[in-house]
Symmetry: C2
Subunit: 411 residues, 2 copies
């Protein structure tokens, strides 16, 4: 009953901004990849076996029954104080960040809302901002609507190419313009799986001082390090002077809580709070209280150790399978992540992971995310992201075998 | 440790948009009004006694334990199907709307996110939109950031002044401009407590056809009618042709769920879905499943009857107290709502409810919301909103008595 004319009434009224809204390639592909029989390395989703299900079930019943006057009522925009206190403790213990107070934090509806609020309070149409190539798709989705002018910085095995960043900042200055901010995922990059070296972290901060830009450091995976030495965050190194830190509970507790955290100076947080008032008033108190009570009653270290053990095992199985089935294929390489959920595969230039996706799913019964989704400029056609966190250990080798057969058929 | 120079790094970078972000007057005042000993008619918050606490507690434990693979994982942006089905049933039974499918609905993080997404996909900077005087503050907060050009339509005891709306649409047309949309709360208006008559509903829809604008109908309170005849929604009368309907569970189940619903044609919903992907990816599945299971297992009619009985009683007590303490005071009048949570008091022109707020709270120990917060143009200084839903029945007369003493002291 939806005739063309009905649609026209609204569609002629869509804002210019809305024309920059594009459906997330990932979420559309995910719908396909969950079909029966397909081994999927696509979704960036944690293994539900890592969720503190029993504890959450008990706590939820309790906070609804005993604290209903708060847990079922409107809550503050700023977020639950008890949860914030628990996170302050995590930052102190695990990242040596010991100067954070409640007013330095805003609890958001997932980190995605953090990205949106950052875009909202900072990005003017046409502003120059730097992102990695590839970068997190959700950041592009959040920022796109505010119309920034993206500049891509190539990602290397030890983090972004700092010389390119310097050239960019210098070039913009020469033109009388200015790099507003750099968006970067420092640890176990999504999608690339790489980690920025300490040397590069220091250099990035020097450049931020020299060219007067700030940094949005997205760190959803930092606590999930399997091996290698833990590196200090840009936020820590810089004492938050020029860095806004985004964190989330999605990968260490459960994504269904939809809890992210923005950490910054009090003025930025106040601005984000007002922006959030307009965006959704406040988050659900229930989920915040579940997380808050869980963190107060349990040692997060135990939870992290359990996840790390599981994901490291899965990562090792995937790397071993990649070696076995694709190790001798010229032009195919992949990153070796020291943590997180993802690794990144580069294929020979002539192979388009987007073009072969249909065949992958329908004929080879294996799914991945096409790399180009993570490039704002359409590059990366010969790349793909594999998530090792969700699929059961036993089927990872078979999935990689199928993927290898597909790739070899294209060479 | 936050020196001026640290703040400058970020504050010099704030977007132009962010300068339109102002902290909600209501939320700041609410912080004051919750102090010990104050009788507050301020917050627009339901009575927690109406929350289905026991049922929610049980369901939450169950959906986390038994459905953790979905309830704790990322969910779809569109929202939980079971919850949508339950709401389709409510629309069918209570509003005679029988043509809605899942794709005509988007579950949002409270109705506030619905307002934001509407602003995001429709409002260009400078677009002409019409709002009631007074109107819901949260709508202004949501839309402000997108820079509309507001036009105020006076609110009368039977809804907005339709002649003013016609003059506005005609005037804009004459200037070669166009009214993009009208935002209206049809039932038991927040803040004014009034309901749009059937005659006016029909006239508004005629004007929408004639001047080619659409309508955002916000209806959080429609199911909470205490008395009088139920009126069909604009959305129903118009079969959704030119109307987007916003609903919420905040007033009929619990605000802490943070569940709102946008109802419109599939193209608008698709656009809103993509906008939501950028805004917060998806809402928490837990709260949606709590609401969905509750609605499938319980008769919402029973829940509504219970709330209606309680709020009607409180409303009657408040009206009686107003009559008793302010009935003979010249220049003071109030609306007599047939449902919802609010009534609206008009004071003599020379009294400024904002100026006397501090005295109200500190000396008279009573709180309200200043009416001017609901006017985009700073008018309404001699008005105030009173919420009768939250305060206990027994203390409402004492609160009105205090308020009357304050008001009389100003005359």
């Amino acid at each position: 009953m939806e005739s063309a004319i009905i649609s026209d009434i609204f569609s002629q009224s869509f804002s210019n901004r809305s024309k920059r809204l594009k459906a997330s390639a990932i979420r559309e592909l995910l719908k396909v990849s969950t079909q029966e029989g397909i081994i999927s390395f696509a979704g960036g989703t944690p293994d539900p076996a890592t969720f503190p299900t029993e504890e959450f079930a008990k706590i939820s019943e309790r906070v609804i029954k005993e604290e209903y006057k708060k847990s079922l009522q409107y809550s503050t925009t700023e977020g639950d104080g008890m949860l914030k206190d628990a996170y302050i403790e995590i930052l102190r213990k695990h990242d040596n960040i010991d100067w954070i107070e409640r007013d330095n934090m805003l609890v958001t509806t997932g980190s995605q809302q953090g990205l949106d609020l950052i875009g909202r309070i900072f990005i003017n149409n046409g502003d120059d901002i730097a992102v990695e190539l590839p970068t997190y798709l959700g950041a592009l989705t959040a920022y796109n609507v505010y119309g920034p002018n993206y500049h891509g910085i190539e990602l290397e095995d030890d983090g972004l190419n700092v010389d390119q960043l310097e050239d960019l900042a210098k070039g913009l200055k020469r033109e009388g313009k200015k790099l507003k901010f750099l968006y970067t995922i420092t640890n176990f990059h999504n999608p690339a799986g790489v980690t920025m070296s300490l040397e590069k972290r220091k250099r990035v901060l020097e450049l931020a001082e020299e060219y007067d830009f700030f940094i949005v450091e997205d760190d959803p995976y930092g606590l999930l390090r399997f091996e290698g030495e833990k590196l200090p965050s840009l936020y820590y190194l810089n004492k938050g002077r020029r860095v806004i830190l985004l964190n989330t509970f999605s990968k260490i507790l459960a994504p269904g809580l939809r809890i992210g955290i923005i950490i910054s100076n009090k003025e930025v947080i106040r601005k984000c709070v007002v922006a959030k008032q307009g965006a959704d008033l406040c988050g659900p108190a229930i989920t915040q209280k579940i997380a808050g009570h869980f963190l107060h009653e349990n040692d997060i270290k135990k939870q992290l150790d359990m996840i790390i053990k599981l994901y490291k095992e899965k990562k090792d199985i995937m790397l071993k399978a990649l070696d076995k089935y694709l190790g001798d294929v010229e032009g195919v390489s992949w990153t070796k992540p020291q943590g997180g959920l993802f690794l990144w595969v580069r294929l020979p230039k002539n192979i388009d992971s987007g073009e072969m996706f249909k065949e992958a799913v329908e004929k080879y019964k294996v799914a991945y995310i096409l790399g180009s989704a993570f490039y704002f400029n359409g590059e990366g056609k010969n790349t793909m992201r594999l998530c090792f966190a969700l699929p059961p250990k036993e089927i990872i080798p078979e999935g990689i075998k199928r993927l290898a057969e597909l790739i070899k058929s294209k060479i």
